[in-house]
């Protein structure tokens, strides 16, 4: 017990000492945390290791690469962007830890593109209490769009209900009279997606669910086959998209697969399915709202490929890299709009002002009343292992609005690849 007392005292003293040394280096210029005349520090939490790392771990390095590109060209309003990437392993209790470290110890200006519904949900209240802007959450949950409750939080992805409505509209038009079924993740992702689908199609013929901790979808796929499904809509992460398509092939079940954007990156799926991938993935329909990684003709892809080779060690190009760089581009746009006199309130006002155009196929919806991100998708089809867009982009909302085509022509990036002030 005496030892307990001694150790307790030593530990607490050590904690006290370490705090002293930390306190001195955190002061920045002005009153805004993370902002000096020459630097703005933002942070993120990402699954760099653990169950969700496959594919998603490439996002943050791509974002950082674009920031490095901007920094090399003079930064934004003379400030270089420092991007602090923290690994939370897709574990909500780690997210609590690393986001607190970012905000309280590293004094970041804002949190950008924190990834994951279960992970990020847990830090919403903390970020609100500390008045930290929480921009462009990397998830399609509708939780990010609650301006009254969380005034500093903004989404980025089209939410899963919007996506479900658009996928279902395509199914309704192209596969009329066929038996439509659904397999989804047993969380907000699957539930929101199904809600959107059923808004358009009415109740589906059969619905199944899975959890990521149990890598076996045999029973679910078997049940869908037994129900005689002809079209199967998947709200699955990449690993489970591959697993489902592979399992279906094993039991000679060949429906038309329609896959959610987050689970349909062709590069990731091809890697997971191996040699049989081109055959298994042929004709799979999905949706996207950003330039496709394999579309060499897109001026955005030319910019991203250049940045990727110069600042990202020439990592293998896929839709995750496109996503990471598109987030970075939008953040730079917002920083430009927020002006030289950068504050947290100013940043949030700049996002709410809206009107940003960039790589997306559909418009961003930001306003004071709407904190959701992209408002729609364009459909893609996989042919010979390569996804291509077809039809026109569609937009809608997560409520009762109809699914309507969006006709505006896509914009090209500025000459130097950096949004103007």
């Amino acid at each position: 017990m005496r030892r307990t007392a001694i150790v307790l005292a030593v530990v607490l003293l050590a904690a006290g000492c370490s705090s002293g040394s930390n306190g001195s280096n955190s002061s920045g210029g002005g009153d805004t945390p993370g902002v000096t005349d020459s630097e703005v520090v933002v942070g993120t939490h990402m699954p760099l290791t653990g169950p969700a790392a496959a594919g998603y771990s490439k996002i943050a390095p791509a974002t950082k690469a674009y920031f490095d590109y901007v920094n090399a060209n003079g930064g934004v309003h003379g400030r270089k962007i420092t991007y602090k990437i923290m690994d939370d392993g897709y574990n909500p209790s780690n997210t609590q830890q690393v986001v607190r470290q970012l905000v309280l110890q590293d004094k970041v200006f804002a949190i950008l593109n924190g990834l994951g519904t279960p992970t990020h949900t847990g830090v919403l209240d903390f970020l609100k209490t500390n008045r930290v802007p929480d921009l462009f959450v990397a998830s399609g949950s509708r939780s990010w769009n609650q301006p009254d409750k969380y005034p500093g939080t903004f989404g980025f992805n089209p939410d899963y209900t919007v996506e479900g409505k658009i996928l279902a509209t395509h199914v309704k038009e192209s596969y009329a009279g066929k038996k439509v079924c659904f397999l989804g993740q047993d969380d907000d992702f699957g539930r929101d997606s199904l809600a959107g689908i059923e808004k358009v199609l009415g109740p589906v013929a059969a619905k199944e669910k899975y959890v990521t901790s149990n890598p076996n979808v045999g029973p679910q796929v078997g049940a869908l086959k037994a129900a005689g499904c002809q079209v199967v809509i998947l709200a699955t992460v990449p690993g489970f998209t591959a697993l489902t398509i592979g399992t279906a092939a094993k039991i000679a079940f060949k429906p038309q697969f329609v896959v959610s954007n987050v689970g349909a990156d062709p590069t990731t799926l091809t890697k997971l399915l191996g040699g049989a991938a081109p055959l298994l993935l042929e004709g799979v329909v999905s949706a996207n709202y950003l330039p496709l990684a394999t579309d060499d003709s897109s001026p955005w892809m030319q910019l991203y490929t250049k940045v990727n080779s110069q600042y990202n060690g020439n990592a293998e190009m896929d839709n995750n890299i496109v996503y990471g760089m598109s987030v970075a581009y939008l953040f730079v746009q917002v920083l430009q709009a927020a002006g030289k006199d950068l504050t947290r309130d100013g940043l949030i006002a700049a996002v709410e002002k809206g009107g940003y155009t960039g790589p997306g196929m559909t418009p961003l919806r930001y306003s004071a009343q709407d904190h959701s991100g992209y408002g729609g998708h364009q459909l893609t089809r996989l042919v010979k292992g390569k996804a291509t867009y077809f039809g026109t982009p569609y937009q809608t909302d997560d409520k009762e609005a109809p699914v309507t085509p969006y006709q505006a022509a896509p914009v090209a990036p500025p000459q130097n690849g950096i949004p103007p002030a």
Binding site: M1, R2, R3, T4, A5, I6, V7, L8, A9, V11, L12, A15, G16, S18, S19, N22, G23, L48, T49, G50, A53, S57, A60, P61, I85, M86, D87, G89, Y90, N91, P92, S93, Q96, Q97, R100, Q101, L104, Q105, T117, P118, T121, G122, D125, F126, T129, D186, D187, D188, K209, V211, T212, S213, N214
Partner: protein, 351 residues
């Protein structure tokens, strides 16, 4: 031979030479220190301090079970999950924090009693296997009863902000350390009494304990239940800290980390449990700094695992009794104690 002699020596003169500090005093001083620190430390350090407190609840209970009673549990992560989910469900329905924590402890105690009844019939690897199964089953339970537990996504915990001008981190630290100090006090009182002697007797020799009239099964079940209650408290506190519960927060590695931490700290001592709790917070943070300095973010998540392994190997080579068995530097007057080094080591498993 030497082993036996040491044991005898230890038993004969231990009560006479080992001065015991009044546990109430330690709790009061500890509480004062924690409160003082929460006003001095920056918020992130305060949050880490709170996490140490929450870990201390479970490591203290586990070290009593493993160090004093000789039962190995690889399933304490699952018991923490039980406490955490109980708190989350009650908190979201009734919003009574203290009652929720009490209920979490109660429910986990019942769960611990069930596991403990089965565990008391098992020995060594079989006991480890049973508790391992408990740790593994958590995700399946949450996805089977997903209406209640919301499968992998878990539940968020609705919490009222602390009253007045108290910072959230301060309030969390007070709450966690209140739990930790109560746990430490209760465990000290229990293990210094008859039950503690029974536990040690059962650990050292079950047959001899039986001959002395001690009910072996009863002692083992009781030890497990006490330890489970501590784990339940820790789980509830973690739910408050993370404001969410999910199976991912209580993986198998957590259960293993807990065992490794108390072994590094020093098995069977509350000091060791405290050191273990500190390591559980500090080592991942250090690993993260190293990963950051090395420029590889992907290292961070995995480095902590390697770190724990290396520290375990080094500590076991250098100080088999754990860090708590290392002597603080002594003045000349105390040099005579070096003579009875074997005695001290033999008495190492005392609190």
């Amino acid at each position: 031979m030497t082993v036996i002699r040491e044991k005898i020596v230890a038993r004969v003169d231990a009560p006479a030479t080992h001065r015991r500090i009044n546990p109430y005093l330690v709790v009061v001083v500890g509480a004062a220190l924690v409160v003082a620190l929460t006003y001095v430390l920056p918020p992130f350090r305060t949050y880490q301090l709170a996490t140490v407190g929450a870990y201390l609840c479970v490591t203290a209970g586990l070290t009593v079970l493993t160090g004093l009673n000789g039962q190995l549990s690889l399933g304490h992560g699952a018991l923490m999950a039980t406490g955490a989910y109980t708190l989350a469900l009650l908190q979201n329905r009734f919003n009574l924090l203290v009652a929720g924590i009490a209920a979490a402890v109660l429910v986990t105690t019942v769960a611990g009693a069930v596991i403990g009844l089965a565990a008391a019939r098992l020995r060594g690897p079989y006991l480890a296997g049973l508790t391992l199964a408990v740790a593994v089953v958590v995700p399946s339970v949450t996805s089977t009863f997903d209406e209640t537990f919301n499968s992998d996504q878990g539940l968020s915990v609705a919490l009222d902000p602390p009253p007045g001008t108290i910072l959230v981190e301060q309030w969390q630290a007070w709450l966690c350390w209140a739990g930790a100090l109560v746990t430490v006090l209760a465990l000290t009182l229990v293990t210094r009494g008859r039950l503690g002697r029974d536990m040690r007797a059962v650990r050292d020799d079950e047959t001899a304990a039986k001959l002395a009239g001690i009910s072996v099964a009863r002692t083992q079940v009781l030890a497990f239940v006490i330890s489970a209650a501590c784990a339940g408290l820790a789980g509830a506190l973690f739910a408050v800290l993370a404001q969410s519960v999910s199976p991912g927060a209580f993986p198998l590695t957590l259960s293993l980390f807990l065992v490794v931490a108390i072994v590094i700290g020093g098995l069977g001592r509350l000091t060791g449990a405290l050191i273990g709790a500190v390591l559980l917070v500090v080592l991942p943070a250090v690993a993260q700094d190293i990963g950051e300095a090395a420029g590889s973010q992907r290292l961070e998540g995995n480095l902590a695992l390697a770190f724990f392994g290396v520290v375990l190997v080094v500590v076991m080579l250098a100080a088999p009794g754990g860090l708590a068995s290392l002597k603080p530097p002594r003045r000349k007057a105390n040099d005579e104690t070096h003579r009875d080094r074997p005695r001290r080591r033999a008495a190492g498993r005392r609190l």
